[in-house]
Amino acid sequence: MTKDNFASQQRMRLQPDDGLGPTSDIGSRLRALYGAVQEEGVPDQLLDLLEKLDNAERAQTKQTSQGGD
């Protein structure tokens, strides 16, 4: 099985791949690296920041609409 895998990898290398699609060696390595960072998740400080920005905006909107009454 490893042999088959290797053979198909070799075939891929020998064929100049025009794109970065699913059969592309380089494309799949790029996505593996990129995906590894994505899977780390978003740090709490960033989520907190978004939360604060959103809350501040809501509070302001509320204030404005109450002020209009």
């Binding site: 690296l33 990129y34 995906g35």
Partner: protein, 184 residues
């Protein structure tokens, strides 16, 4: 609460993991990448009135992040450029489908690309943008984007071919011999 209409915040949240991965690829450092994403989030929030809901928020955020990165780099001079670029730091989640050495070689090859080629191949190959979107993000012509990607791809292919040949054991070698030994 759960049926809330898609908000700007929610749209942003869904893009953050990819935006952060792009930031890591630009800065090469996780702490700097997180600072950059944070600056981007604040910038984007401040100018959210210029964003039209339902249009491509991902491309919009990537554009802001990239502009922010290069403007900070210009301000700080060479200091930011001391990083090796790309995913040079150890990743906490290791992509399981590749051997550690295999990806180490790939990271090194990626780091050796010129900045414009590296960002081009990442935007197209990993972030999932079209050539048109990537060209808009990088403020260049679509043809320029295509040629950057193609140059990046062939350079990576060359570098990996050179470093990869010695990595395979005798098994691999014999496979190669048996499949290619039909020249006469």
């Amino acid at each position: 609460m759960a049926t809330e209409t898609p908000s700007f915040k929610r749209e942003m949240l869904s893009t953050l993991p990819s935006l952060r991965a792009f930031a890591v690829s630009l800065t090469g450092k996780h702490d700097k990448a997180d600072d950059l994403v944070q600056d981007t989030v604040m910038k984007a929030w401040a100018k959210q009135s210029s964003f039209e809901m339902g249009t491509n928020i991902k491309a919009w955020l990537f554009t802001i992040l990239r502009n922010e990165f290069y403007s900070q780099m210009r301000k700080r001079g060479r200091e930011v450029q001391d990083s090796d670029g790309a995913f040079t730091e150890r990743l906490s989640v290791h992509p399981s489908q590749y051997g550690a050495m295999d990806l180490e070689d790939f990271k090194k090859a990626l780091a050796e690309l010129p900045d414009d080629q590296r960002e081009a191949i990442i935007l197209i190959g990993a972030s999932g943008f079209s050539y048109e979107e990537a060209a808009e993000i990088c403020d260049c012509a679509v043809g320029t984007m295509k040629s950057r990607v193609s140059r990046a791809r062939s350079r990576l292919q060359d570098m990996l071919k050179v470093s990869g040949e010695s990595d395979y054991g005798p098994d691999a070698l014999s496979t190669q011999v048996t499949t290619t030994n039909h020249s006469f």
